[in-house]
């Protein structure tokens, strides 16, 4: 790891004055040798630095800025989660569990308890892809400035099955899947202290648009909160993650479903897939398959099938299609009630 200096910011203004770059910029060949970047808990940032991918000259710690980890609720504005709220904090919040179950489930199934105790909401959204070529120091891939995507012709079992261009990476944030499904809004404070409210679905950037970054964030722009709109009555949600192990693992497929029900009938729906595409993927086909319909085995199955119509798997990730079909179906059928007789990541038989 390179040597760096440390700035312990005590206010947002101070932090924004000190920062001049983004972590994504530091990974590029033309990185500024004087780059100063935000560090929340540093889980992802340190991983990138240890591997020698990111070499910032200065870390601006925003972890201890007063107020940035506050949770507040307002009937009109909804639930406002400060950027520094931890995954454990989200998991433990009874209001989130009650009103935004899918977010609770996404947070409580990410990583491990020690990581969740540290990991922040904003850091989770801004973490970089875990494409293992991207994460290797020795391999300079397309996203890091060369003209080669190694995954395309290589070990792509963890990669995208839809919505990719030349880069077939998947986005790493599980929280983003649930937050997108809830139509959450990212509150960004720009360099001049002005607040921008960006819908979750506009926050992420496809590599075909800009391969050097995964979010719209510009240097020194600070996420200050994520806002979840007040849930409408009869809104229910469910999230399922499928990984190769039951703990400490990344999803091979994950889905968040949010629906407005009227009896058995689905009035409104949102279905968002993770580990499917370079950004959280809103499955219009799945949404259409259940909206206006009665929720049952047939419609739920149809939604899974419809969602996978547009999938174009790579050489080694065709397995994701049946997995997605299954978890989409199960998540829809679980809305409001837990499924039985399935090995469900969201319902481990031992509680953590």
């Amino acid at each position: 790891m390179n040597k760096f200096s440390w700035y312990e910011a005590t206010s947002k203004v101070e932090a924004q004055r000190e920062a001049n770059s983004t972590v994504s910029e530091t990974i590029q060949p033309d990185a500024d040798p004087e780059a100063a970047v935000f560090k929340a808990s540093g889980i992802d940032l340190l991983d990138l630095m240890k591997e020698g991918l990111s070499k910032p000259a200065k870390l601006v710690s925003i972890r201890n800025i007063p107020g940035m980890d506050e949770v507040s609720y307002n009937k009109e504005k909804g639930l406002r989660l400060g950027a520094n709220v931890t995954l454990a904090g989200i998991t433990a919040n009874p209001q989130i569990k009650k009103n935004y179950l899918a977010l609770h489930q996404a947070a409580s199934h990410a990583a491990t308890p020690p990581i969740r105790n540290m990991a922040t909401l904003a850091g989770n959204l801004v973490q970089r892809t875990h494409c293992w070529y991207f994460r290797s120091k020795e391999l300079v891939c397309f996203r890091k400035g060369s003209s080669t995507c190694f995954a395309h012709v290589g070990e792509n079992e963890n990669h995208a099955i839809m919505s990719y261009g030349y880069c077939v990476s998947i986005h790493s944030s599980s929280l983003a899947i649930a937050l997108t499904a809830f139509d959450a809004i990212v509150e960004i404070t720009d360099k001049n202290g002005k607040i921008k409210l960006v819908p979750m679905k506009e926050f992420f950037v496809l590599p075909s648009v800009d391969r050097t970054r995964e979010t719209i964030l510009k240097p020194a722009e600070l996420i200050t909160a994520v806002i979840l709109p007040e849930p409408k009555t009869h809104t229910v949600s469910y999230y399922i993650k499928m990984g190769s192990r039951r703990s400490q693992d990344w999803p091979m497929a994950e889905v968040a479903v949010v629906a407005g029900l009227s009896g058995e009938k689905c009035k409104t729906a949102n279905v968002v897939l993770g580990a499917a595409a370079p950004v959280p993927f809103i499955s219009k086909a799945a949404i259409d398959a259940i909206t206006g319909k009665t929720i049952n085995e047939t419609t739920a199955t149809a939604a899974g099938e419809a969602a996978m119509q547009i999938a174009v798997p790579l050489s080694k990730n065709g397995y994701k299609i049946p997995v997605f079909k299954t978890i989409i179906k199960r998540a829809i059928l679980s809305l409001g009630k837990p499924p039985e007789n399935v090995i469900d990541w969201a319902l481990p038989d031992r509680i953590h």
Partner: protein
């Protein structure tokens, strides 16, 4: 020689006594465990407190005054000739004290194909070390490494075993190569020729070569099954990576090493640096795991030696996690083609095994002797080939070969049972001549409430349950180079000394128990000092030899000390030595029990500060077993219950029943720890672990513990252990090892259970969701 009666057989089954002729110096027969006070009990580890409170000093924790930090520059391409190496900037970097460039590699098959012009070893895998740097801090060492410039002439490479077998594949070695077998490692037959990257076949093991006539055997068969199995490369992932601290000290060398063999490390170092063994001391008090990969000094140890010699300062060189994955050993993969012939009644008529495996740039990728030795079959032949690839060298790994071999053999036998429409345990009853496994099957059948498995794949619904069983075989190896010294001091303190290291299995504790039992003391009364070559040399922690090799000399040395103390007591109590018994730390006159003296008081009467006795491992009573196929080796039977979600391909192991034996058990808790660990490792092998190599770049894609998937607590099922005492009258303690047998059967048992659940055979591991879904035709 004298004749003694020793316990023989299995309690509650066929326990009896056997008369053996043994040397006069051997102690009297040890009765069965139920009659003992310390041996065979759940004695707490002597170092438990030190480990849980963090005061145990591992090599990674050693800091010496003036110590430097070593770091190596490693090749970032898989195959190349080195044209030039420029270390000038690194040398000039402030804080750098020494730089050494390798002239020769010692790991793997020992390539001597140096580039004639530059004189540097050819780079044969990505991650091969080239230069080492020692600096005053780790940061500075890393910075200096980044300043090193190496100019390569890249060569074509191959990392995939199937590709490497093709005639047009780039050659890893231009010549035939050999490699010494590491202690506890898979057999390496010497002098075999290579064709392309394929070396072999090896056709022999220490059980001998082919038997009978295959053609005839298959002609006699009513049923023939032929299958292909594949296993993956597994890396060892010890929690403490490989590493040393070398203090060269002008030739009076002290090495702190995370090693499975203090002796091996010392001897390697003495040889490499041309020093007498007496000038090299290796200390290894605590080891954070090794699993077979830590038997030798290693390139990193050689490098640390050069750097320390050059700088005149101690040098610490610990591998990081990535270096550990790519360069510090692995269990080779395998492709096994097996063919079995059997009569309708199950009698095996022929068994044929053809295997390929790659240990990267190393040898030793055979699939062991399990197919040769587990079942009775008159006609047998195996051909085992090593395939070279441009990847880090393999190393011995917990039951080398047999874990791969069991995965194939035990599925094949399971399939044969199904074909013959018999219970798989019934078939084994017919073809397995081992008594211990017979008893293990009986116990397992009761505990599992085992019935003939239901029709495979017959559960309704998406989640299907399955049950499976598999067996293990492991030879009873003994290492005669096992010596122990026992001391008693005037204050009554007792010390046990040996260079044997405790890899984490609890060697210290079993030594304390055996000596305590012999001296009539408690294990807490015994101080065990081991892991230091200043003490008498002990065996390497490999081949599951340690307990069976080191406890007999420990008991014998203690017995010699006891004999001296009895003589002393006889004088003190004014009676004859024959009239003295030792009970609960008292020396008592049998004829007049009021005449007695405590151990402590007796020690106070010693004429000198301490008495010392040494003993080495004697030959096995009744002759060694190794060399011929004997069915009384170490056996195990493991049962697995699994659930398979056929819609997602997710496999969950619900329960493992592990029925084991290891001769006379010395410490039940520690044996259970080993079995738990072996089972968990077996589950990991069956379902998760897999070294992923990228064919196009030659790099490992998952050299970390994030993407290289180890099991965590959620992945660990209920593990039930049934331990069977078994007396073989083979030594003064009659103990044998358990580390390796614990890890052999699990993957096959899980695979058989998965078959029973879904009705499709998973012939390749790890059994990932992707493989299950593919097998079910869902992709």
């Amino acid at each position: 020689m004298k004749k003694v009666k020793l316990p023989y057989g299995i309690p509650d089954y066929n326990l009896t006594e056997i008369v053996r002729e043994i040397p006069n110096a051997e102690p009297p027969a040890l009765p069965v465990n139920s009659k003992l006070k310390v041996i065979g009990k759940r004695v707490k580890r002597t170092d438990a407190l030190a480990k849980v409170t963090g005061t145990a000093v591992f090599t990674a924790d050693v800091y010496l005054p003036g110590m430097l930090y070593g770091k190596m520059f490693r090749a970032d391409i898989p195959h190349a000739r080195i044209k030039s190496i420029d270390v000038s900037a690194a040398k000039a970097h402030p804080g750098v004290f020494a730089i050494h460039i390798f002239k020769e590699m010692i790991e793997g098959a020992n390539p001597k194909e140096n580039n004639k012009k530059s004189g540097y070893p050819e780079v044969k895998y990505a991650g091969q070390p080239i230069v080492g740097v020692a600096a005053i801090s780790m940061d500075i060492a890393e910075e200096a490494v980044n300043l090193i410039r190496v100019e390569y002439e890249p060569l074509e490479f191959v990392v995939d075993m199937d590709d490497a077998r093709k005639p047009e594949a780039p050659l890893v070695y231009q010549t035939n190569v050999n490699q010494e077998t590491s202690s506890g490692g898979e057999d390496i037959e010497e002098g075999l020729k290579s064709r392309g990257n394929v070396r072999g076949p090896a056709t022999k093991s220490f059980y001998g070569g082919p038997r009978g006539n295959l053609k005839k055997g298959f002609a006699e068969a009513d049923v023939i099954i032929e299958r292909t199995y594949r296993t993956q490369v597994q890396t060892h992932c010890p929690l403490e990576t490989h590493g040393v601290v070398v203090d060269y000290n002008r030739g009076n060398v002290t090495i702190y090493a995370s090693t499975q063999s203090t002796k091996g490390t010392r001897n390697d170092f003495a040889k490499t640096f041309d020093l007498p063994k007496s000038k090299v001391r290796v200390i290894s008090e605590f080891i954070g795991g090794g699993f077979g990969a830590k038997h030798t000094l290693g390139n990193f140890g050689v490098m640390a030696g050069h750097l320390s010699k050059q700088s005149g300062r101690p040098v610490k060189l610990m591998l990081d996690r990535k270096e550990e994955h790519v360069s510090a050993g692995n269990r080779p993969n395998s492709l096994q083609l097996m063919k079995v012939g059997a009569k309708k009644d199950g009698t095996l008529t022929a068994l044929k095994l053809l295997s390929y495996g790659t240990a990267g740039v190393g040898l030793g990728s055979g699939v062991g002797n399990i197919a040769q030795a587990m079942y009775e079959c008159p006609n047998f032949k195996m051909d085992q080939y090593d395939v070279f690839t441009n990847a880090g060298p393999g190393a011995a790994f917990r039951a080398p070969g047999n874990v791969q071999g069991a995965f194939a053999l035990e599925q094949l036998i399971d399939e044969l049972a199904e074909r013959l429409d018999v219970d798989p345990l019934q078939l084994r009853e017919k073809i397995d001549k081992s008594t211990i496994r017979k008893v293990q099957r009986e116990r397992g059948t009761q505990l599992m409430n085992w019935k003939k498995p239901k029709k495979a794949g017959s559960d309704p619904g998406p989640v299907k349950k399955g049950i499976g069983v598999a067996q293990a075989h492991w030879p009873r190896f003994v290492n005669l180079d096992s010596t122990v010294e026992v001391r008693v001091m005037q204050d009554g303190a007792v010390e046990v000394r040996s260079a044997v290291q405790d890899i984490g299995t609890g060697t210290k504790t079993v030594l304390a128990q055996v000596v305590a039992e012999e001296l009539g003391l408690k294990s807490a009364d015994i101080t065990v000092l081991i892991g230091d070559t200043l003490f008498p040399i002990g065996p390497p922690s490999g081949g599951s030899v340690v307990t069976g090799s080191i406890t007999p000399p420990a008991r014998n040395a203690a017995h010699k000390v006891k004999t001296k103390l009895i003589d002393l007591a006889a004088g003190e109590l004014d009676t004859k030595a024959e009239n003295i018994v030792v009970e609960n730390s008292w020396f008592i006159s049998k004829s007049d029990r009021s005449k007695k003296i405590s151990f402590k008081n007796l020690a106070g009467k010693l004429r000198v500060e301490q008495i010392t006795e040494t003993a080495s491992r004697s030959d096995d009573y009744g002759g060694f077993m190794i060399g011929t196929v004997g069915y009384e080796e170490l056996g195990a039977v493991q049962f697995a219950e699994v659930s398979v979600d056929t819609e997602t391909g997710f496999v969950k192991v619900d329960r493992i029943m592990a029925v084991h034996s290891c001769g006379r058990p010395i410490n039940i808790s520690q044996i259970e720890s080993q079995i738990n660990g072996g089972v968990i490792m077996g589950i990991a092998y069956a379902l998760y672990e897999d070294r992923v190599m990228d064919k196009n770049t030659g790099h490992q894609m998952n050299p970390n513990l994030d993407q290289y998937k180890m099991p965590f607590s959620f992945e660990v099922p209920e593990i039930q252990i049934e331990l069977i005492e078994e007396y073989g009258a083979r030594s003064s303690t009659d103990a044998t090892g358990i580390g390796e047998p614990a890890n052999i059967a699990t993957a096959a048992a899980v695979a058989n259970a998965v078959y029973n659940a879904i009705g499709v055979r998973m012939t390749e591991i790890p059994i990932t969701p992707a493989r299950i879904l593919a097998a079910l035709g869902k992709i």
